[in-house]
Amino acid sequence: MARLELDDITKHFDDDGETIVAVDDASIDIDDGEFLVLVGPSGCGKSTTLRMIAGLETITEGELRIGGRRVNEAKPRDRDIAMVFQSYALYPHMTVRENMSFGLEESTDLSEAEITERVESATDTMGISDLLDRKPSELSGGQQQRVALGRAIVREPEVFLMDEPLSNLDAKLRAQMRTELQRLQEDLDTTTVYVTHDQTEAMTMGDRIAILNDGILQQVATPLEAYHAPANQFVAGFIGEPSMNFFDVDLEGDSVVGDGLDYPVSDDVRAKLDTDALVLGIRPQDIELVDAVESGHDVAVTVDVVEPMGDENNVYLTFSDTAGNETFIANVDGRTLVDEGDDIVARIPEEAVHFFDRRSGEALRNREFDGDADVDLSL
């Protein structure tokens, strides 16, 4: 177990004389035993970052330290890491036992008996003891996934690297493995870097999540912080399902005015807005649907589409008094009955509203949230 430090890590690829910046100046300190999730859309540089930690890509600039030791130049085998690949990369000609003992045979001096013991204890942990003599082709996707994880944990490395390990599983199994992986990581207490494009995985699994876009690190924060206090508009839009609604607005006196929206803001909020060109953000979950306009924070809307999900409804709304048919989403209780074409009122509570600088995307005002507040769990 070790602390993993990325210090101004940069990666350039050379494409026919043209330099492509895959990762730009990323700095993350990952604590010993921490579960860090690297998340971002495809092509954002998250996999490249992981591969640089693994030693499968060279680092153009910056320093990478594992347990305080600089490993920029170290070969993968000298970094004491184990990696789980998206495709699992099990060796097809080897049995499960051989797959799992391969790493120990190649990287340690353990005796055959010790290797057998460690492999068997790892298969016990993963619940695949009865598969030891099978070949990967004889296993289901979920079983292969377990073997791939087992192959990593049997090594007892300083750092686990996981490259979208659950993306090849069906939805149900993925949810199950997500919990299992979390429990496993807590038991082993091994520093883990986990790459995913799935923000649900990021939210549920990570101690902290690092959000990347276009090779640039947007924010490193706990899942709740990233959700409630996003550093910028990209993070706000990426984290959360359905995505946050954004409206381009301009600050005019006491309110912000946009297409179909005239929204009064309090002095406290206005004090934080240091520019006129803004983006107003509101999470679908924070929008309430009511019958009548009662204050300036209520807007008349028309229901465009209703997606019933059972426990909740995603209601697509358009502003009633504009010609545009741009929709935004409200996420309401599943028992709220609304129909397409209904004229209703959306209430956008001011305490839940985010404001972003329209040019830089930087968050100027986030919803009221105190991450450090003690939560009273007594009933």
Binding site: A54, G55, L56, K75, P76, R77, I81, A82, M83, F85, S87, A89, Y91, P92, H93, F102, G103, E106, S107, T108, R151, R155, L161
Partner: protein, 323 residues
């Protein structure tokens, strides 16, 4: 393609007849299906079937009967009393035993070394080097040359006085060797020349095999702590089993066909002493010594040898469900 065309023609024929019957669709369709497809596809598969059957398999069968006669010299062979005398004669003939041994030595040494050289070159070319396509073409090019050309070329290379091989060896104080004239060296020299010509083929097959292995396999092995050499030995090469089998079958068939090369070395049915193989001996017996039956027997044994070579490949394909 051919099958589809036949099926289409079959449908046409059927449709016309149904119309003539006055619309008795159900009654004719089922019973007509098999025979219709069979007869309508006849013009397509029958001619090649007959030609192949007679010219190849018929000739092999005829050759087998010829090998059971005692025919020699001119005149029609006597098919009245057939026996295995020629086969017995072969195994008592030191020339045959020598040719058999040479054939085996050539087969094994050539195939194994070709695979090894091809694999090493393929692994090197696979390292993402510059001008990769150029290298690949250069290595594959000798295979495009005729045996007549390469045999002449290697005759010059092996020339005792001014051949390049002896000149290079001379630099480090070895030789000169009589590569072609010395019976104990000639087979090795022939094997070397054939490897030069065919290792490029093994390389191309292995390169395709290497490309088919996902990058993650290499990366997983490296992360697992394997050195480059161990990675290839334990993870990559075992996955090239299919490539190895198909390449070795083709190479072994080439080895059995080394007749062309040996014939071109001397321009006669008498290859350099020490390099006589079953193929050269068979032709010599048939067309110089006029021992038709004896040559036929040698031919049948060469054929059996080829079958033994191809059988594992067919078995592998059958097991893989490709046959």
């Amino acid at each position: 393609m051919r099958g589809k065309l036949a099926a289409y023609l079959g449908r046409l024929v059927r449709r016309n007849r149904i119309r003539a019957d006055g619309g008795e669709v159900n009654a004719t369709r089922d019973s007509g299906l098999v025979s219709d497809e069979f007869t309508s596809s006849l013009p397509y598969w029958l001619p090649p079937f007959v030609v192949m059957g007679l010219a190849v398999y018929g000739a092999i069968l005829w050759n087998f009967f010829l090998s059971l006669t005692d025919s020699s010299g001119f005149g029609a062979p006597d098919y009245a009393n057939l026996d295995f005398e020629m086969y017995a004669r072969a195994f008592a003939d030191p020339v045959f035993i020598g040719a058999l041994r040479n054939t085996f030595a050539l087969l094994v040494a050539f195939t194994v070394l070709c695979l090894v050289v091809g694999l090493v070159v393929a692994v090197l070319v696979d390292q993402g080097i510059r001008y990769e396509n150029t290298f690949r073409t250069i290595y594959l090019l000798p295979m495009a040359l005729s045996f007549v050309v390469t045999a002449q070329f290697w005759l010059w290379m092996y020339n005792q006085q001014n051949g390049l091989v002896n000149i290079i060896l001379g630099v480090v104080g070895l030789g000169p060797y009589e590569w072609i004239g010395n019976p104990s060296l000639v087979l090795g020299a022939v094997v070397f020349a054939l490897i030069w010509q065919f290792s490029g083929y093994a390389m191309v097959v292995y390169l395709a095999g290497l490309r088919a292995i996902p990058t993650e396999q290499f990366e997983a092995a490296r992360v697992d702590g394997a050195t480059t050499l161990r990675m290839y030995w334990r993870v990559i090469i075992p996955q090239l089993k299919g490539a190895t089998i198909s390449a070795s079958v083709v190479l072994m068939v080439f080895a059995l066909k080394a007749f062309d090369f040996l014939y071109s070395l001397t321009g006669s049915y008498y290859p350099p002493k020490g390099s006589d193989i079953l193929a050269t001996m068979m032709v010599r017996q048939a067309f110089v010594a006029n021992n038709r039956a004896y040559a036929a027997a040698i031919g049948i044994m060469l054929f059996a040898l080829a079958l033994v070579v191809v059988a594992p490949y067919l078995l592998y394909q059958y097991r893989a469900g490709e046959l």
